[in-house]
Each structure stands twice: as structure tokens, then as C-alpha cells.
Amino acid sequence: MKLNWMLLMVSFSITAPVSGAQEGKESNKGYELMKEADRVNSNFLGQSNQMQMDISDAYGNTISRKMKSIVMEKKKGDKSLIEFESPADVRGTKMLTWVKQTGSDDQWLYLPAMKRVKRINSKSKTGSFMGSQFSYEDLGNEEIEKYKYSYIKEATLDGRKVHVIDRFPLDKNSGYSKQRVFLDIEYQGPLKIDYFDKKQELLKISTFSDYKRVKKWWTYHKIEMKNVQTKKTSSLTWTEKEFEVKLKESDFNSKKLEG
């Protein structure tokens, strides 16, 4: 298990066997680099976050949402809980995710006005997360075994050395045909990801910035996601990020959602 690239985590298991999807030397290089990044970003045990999500449309209208989240590293698949704190009309909305190493994740949304716990279809990954440009797929688990890789080249992005790696989702329910990852060699984390839709056209670009060292890990504190087709943007900014936080398994019980 490892630190999150997005809101939750990149949680490909280092114990999982190398996928049969890896083909050729350059594919293996891409896979091995991602696996190494996974190893470096592992063992955070528990993570606690305070975040702000800003959602902007093409006309410059912006809404801000504050939320907190906790993530627990688990051998059989990490668990995470996100709770919205503002604005007031969505306050108390919670999303619980149980990541699975194989198969679909379990995900529930709690709607406080109706006191209703609603299971989210894990195959409907392309849906917008709370009206943002982040989809459930973007925020969910990114196990390395769920992609096929192709190493492109070593390059420089904004003055930093990166590996450019293409990854192709194996899940047919993915909203993407390809993701081009710009993996920072020092941070062992992404600086940018280009997302291509099913028609192979560029759909979204996410940029990862404000990297800081927290304990032994380099971690970004801002992601901006831009939909190049609709011109809408969303960003996630971490105001607090803590690792090695002691969490209880029971904090992630679905029964606790109902408050």
C-alpha cells in the first residue's frame, strides 16, 4: 500500500504477482518504475487529510467545498472515509470506500438529509464526484495490476526530471483509453497525468504541485484537474496532511456512516 496520488491512494499491492499484461522490455520498465514508486510510497499506515475542493465552470463561476478524510492502509485493500464539512447544504455527506486488490471496490455514499446510505456502483466510475471534474475513477484506487504499461522516455517537465509512462486501463468500465503519466524521478510521484477518452482524444489534464516532505514521504498538496473539452476546472488543495496516523478499523464500518 502506498500514499495517495489522488484523494485516496495508489494501492497496488507489492505482493501481487506481475500481471500477464506486461509485454516487452519497455512495458516492463514502465511497470517496474510504477512498482518502485508504489514501494517508496508504502507503509504510511494511516492518513488524515483536510482539503478544499474548488469547482469552476467555463464562465468563471466557482464553488468551494471543504472536506476531511482518513485512509487506513490494509493488506487486503485500503479503506477510506471522506466527509464534507462545507458548504452547509452538503455538510455531513460522507463517502466510504473499501478498496479490493482484485474485483470491484465497495463504495457507499451517505446523504444526511434523508439519512440514507446509498451503495455506489463501482462500475459507474466515470461519474462526477460531487459535481467536480474528478471522477470516482480518478479518486479511487489505482492498483498497478489494473493497467498495462508502456515506457515512453525520460524527459524534463517544468525543470524537473520525469519518466513518461503510458498506462492503459484493463477495466472495460474505465472512462479512459489511456493515461500518460509524468512521474517525477525524485518525488516518485506524478507531476502531471493526461487522460485520453475512449475516442483516444485528450479529455483531462491533472497537474500535481506543492510537493512537500511529510515524514519520510514526498507528497503533493495540490491537484488541478482541467477538462480540456468543456474548459471546466476543479482543484484539490490539502491544508493538512498527516501520515502514520493511528486509526481504528471500526472507523470504517458502514454502520458508522449513519451517525
Binding site: 463561476n61 439519512k115 458502514s254 454502520k255
Partner: protein, 408 residues
């Protein structure tokens, strides 16, 4: 003014626990208007305020106190002046095990319109009857959950009557009836004179294989549709009969579809005073979300409910509002900066009668604190017998409503 008592209790609890307490609420300006029915005793329009307050205090030793309630104060239609507590309970959390005591509301339904297993709370039927507001149930509960499964027992020491808006356009009794006694009947067929009566529910939950399951046994009273009796006077008595209900809820991913089902079997206490047919209600639903360019999405909802075990059609209609009905719903979310959403639904009786309930609603944020919503409802349920049964009493109660909400 009885609602001021629980409101006072709520505020007392809130202010005494103000330190480190989280609280939130909503004040809503409401307007509701029905098509004129030319009947003097009913109000065809009204406006007023709706308020919901919620506060929660957590102590260091994993004890939590939570309070939540709502109320309305209306001009013209004074039957809409009330306050109900939804939650007022204390909970102790030992990790996998929780114990709680107090008033509490529960949502045990996965469905949009048909909820045969969502039975714990009494309802405020002065709201949309397919998703009626709930009234807090005094409960002593103990529940355990570990990993993906859990079980629990809730005991209910007192009985809570639903709010049935007599003389209102939403009344389930003929408009000429402006009051009726609401009586709970025990297993011997005797009227329970006070509201102290022990009932309870035992349940098991499981999350596995991409789905959730809930299985329970409930011993208590059936408050879904009371048995109506015309007494000498004449006056009307609405009787809530003792029932044992076995319920099973399942929600499961099947490909990109979400399948939901609730199965309820109701067995009534046998006695010489009150009889009712034991019956089984099955509801099943399917949801599918379509994603469009520009991040918009549309959820298609198809649900159906059937009632089995009634002696005949009249008996079935006396047992439940929905005997053989289907719902088709479309929820379109714009996913824009204003969180605009449109929801259209139509419920139709697929049996011999012509009952149709169609509604459309629209919601949008105006700012971080303000939200505007409005809805139209069309109800066509012509009376087929001497007296209206089920939602025949709502026939032609077409309505329009507007709400302006301020969250804080």
C-alpha cells in the same frame, strides 16, 4: 403549541453542550398550493416556514449525544404547525459495538418510492407520502459490526403515532372527516390505552459480493396503512394492528446496473376483534446511470411493487397504497456550479384501476447558503367504491410547491 416543549428541550440540550459542539440547520420558506377542490374544510394553499436543527457533541470517552428535529409554522393552514424530534439520543461506542438510547430515525430502504421494510419510524404524512418525513422513535439499541457483517437488537419501549393530516388535502380519509382516533391494538385485540408497549427488531447485515443484505424480524405495529373502522357516533377509528414482520433487503451491482429488492412478510396477531390478511410485499428496482459530455449525468430508475396474499382486490387496497405499481424515474444532474438537478417520476397502478401519480422537481443552489427548489405533482386516482381507499383520497390533489432554503 405543544411543539414548543420538544423545541425547548432541544435548545436546552444544545445550549448546555455548546462547547465543542457541531451544529447545523436549515430554514426554509415554503409555499404550497393545490388545485381548488371547492370544499370549505380544506385549505387549498398555505405558506410558512420549515426549520430543521441538528447538533452533535462528542466526548473523549467515545460517548456522543445527537439532537435533530424539524418543525413548520404556517399561515392559513394551521394544521401545519408542528415540531417533531427526529433524533435525541446518547451513544457509547466501543469500536465494533455501539449502545444507544433515545429518540432516533432510521432509513432501512434502498428504494426511491416503495419501502415495505422501512417500518421503524412513524411518519408525518403531511409530506410526500412515498417519502414521508419521519418521527423519532424511542429506542434502546445494541449493535455489533465487524468487517463486512454485523447484527443488532433495537427495543422500542413506547409507541409513536404517525401524523395523519385530517381535513387536509393530503388526508387519507374523506375530506369531510376532520378527526379520527388513532389506536394501537395489542396481540389480544385490545386497545392499548397508554403508549407504553414493548416492541423490537432483530437484524443482521452483510456486505459481500458487490452487494448489501439486511435480514430482520420485527415485532410491533403496522403503521403503513391503518385499518379504518366506522364507530357509532359516527366517528372514524384508525387502528394500527400488532404485526410480526420478516424483512429482507438486498442491493447488488450487476454490471453497470444496481438491483434493489425489499421483501416483507407481515403476519398479524390472530384475535376475534381485528382481522387482517397476512401478506407478502415484494418490491424490486433497477438503477442505471448514463454519463454525458460536459460531466452531466442521468439516472434511470425503474421500480415495481407487488402485494401477495390478499383475499381480493379490495382487501389488497386496504392493506397497502401500492398493490401492483411501477415507478419510472429520471434524475438528471447538471453537475455544474449551481448543482442543478431535475427529477421526474411517474407511479402508475398496472392493475385495473387508473391511479397515476406524476411529479417533477427542480433544485438549484443560489449560493453557499441558499437553495431554491420547486415541484409539481399530478394525482389521478378516481374513487372506485363507496369510500376512497388508499390514495384515492388524494385524487385530483394536484399541487405546486416552492421552497427557498437558507442553510447555516
Amino acid at each position: 403549541m405543544r411543539f414548543l416543549i420538544p423545541l425547548g428541550a432541544f435548545l436546552f440540550v444544545s445550549f448546555n453542550l455548546r462547547a465543542e459542539m457541531s451544529s447545523q440547520g436549515e430554514i426554509r420558506l415554503e409555499m404550497r398550493a393545490f388545485q381548488n377542490d371547492d370544499i370549505d374544510v380544506t385549505n387549498d394553499y398555505g405558506y410558512g416556514f420549515f426549520t430543521r436543527l441538528e447538533s452533535e457533541k462528542e466526548f473523549k470517552n467515545d460517548i456522543k449525544i445527537k439532537a435533530r428535529g424539524f418543525g413548520r409554522v404556517y399561515q392559513i393552514d394551521e394544521s401545519r404547525n408542528y415540531f417533531y424530534l427526529e433524533d435525541l439520543f446518547m451513544e457509547k461506542d466501543w469500536g465494533n459495538t455501539q449502545f444507544f438510547m433515545g429518540l432516533r430515525t432510521f432509513n432501512w430502504s434502498f428504494a426511491e418510492a416503495f419501502h415495505p421494510n422501512d417500518i421503524i419510524n412513524a411518519r408525518n404524512f403531511d409530506s410526500n407520502f412515498e417519502n414521508a418525513e419521519k418521527i423519532g422513535q424511542p429506542t434502546i439499541g445494541l449493535q455489533y459490526q465487524k468487517e463486512n457483517h454485523g447484527f443488532g437488537i433495537y427495543l422500542f419501549p413506547t409507541l409513536v403515532k404517525p401524523n395523519l393530516p385530517f381535513g387536509s388535502r393530503l388526508s387519507f380519509t374523506p375530506d369531510s372527516i376532520t378527526n379520527a382516533s388513532r389506536r394501537f391494538i395489542d396481540t389480544d385485540g385490545e386497545v392499548i390505552e397508554n403508549q407504553t408497549y414493548l416492541s423490537g427488531i432483530l437484524f443482521y447485515d452483510l456486505s459481500a459480493f458487490g452487494g448489501d443484505l439486511k435480514l430482520f424480524w420485527y415485532h410491533g405495529h403496522d403503521r403503513e396503512q391503518p385499518q379504518a373502522l366506522l364507530l357509532p357516533g359516527p366517528s372514524l377509528s384508525l387502528n394500527f394492528l400488532a404485526v410480526d414482520q420478516i424483512g429482507l433487503n438486498i442491493v447488488k451491482e450487476v454490471g453497470t446496473f444496481m438491483i434493489k429488492s425489499e421483501i416483507a412478510h407481515k403476519a398479524y396477531a390472530e384475535n376475534s376483534n381485528f382481522q387482517r390478511s397476512d401478506h407478502t410485499i415484494v418490491s424490486i428496482g433497477i438503477e442505471k446511470t448514463f454519463f454525458w459530455n460536459k460531466s452531466q449525468e442521468t439516472m434511470l430508475i425503474l421500480e415495481g411493487q407487488g402485494l401477495f396474499g390478499a383475499e381480493n382486490d379490495d382487501d389488497a387496497r386496504a392493506l397497502n397504497f401500492f398493490q401492483r405499481d411501477v415507478l419510472l424515474g429520471l434524475r438528471h444532474s447538471f453537475n455544474d456550479a449551481y448543482s442543478q438537478e431535475v427529477f421526474f417520476s411517474i407511479i402508475a397502478d398496472v392493475d385495473k384501476s387508473k391511479e397515476i401519480l406524476a411529479s417533477i422537481s427542480y433544485t438549484r443552489r443560489l449560493s453557499d447558503q441558499w437553495k431554491l427548489s420547486g415541484s409539481l405533482r399530478y394525482i389521478d386516482a378516481p374513487q372506485s367504491g363507496l369510500f376512497p381507499v388508499g390514495f384515492e383520497s388524494l385524487d385530483e390533489d394536484h399541487q405546486v410547491s416552492l421552497q427557498l432554503s437558507r442553510f447555516f
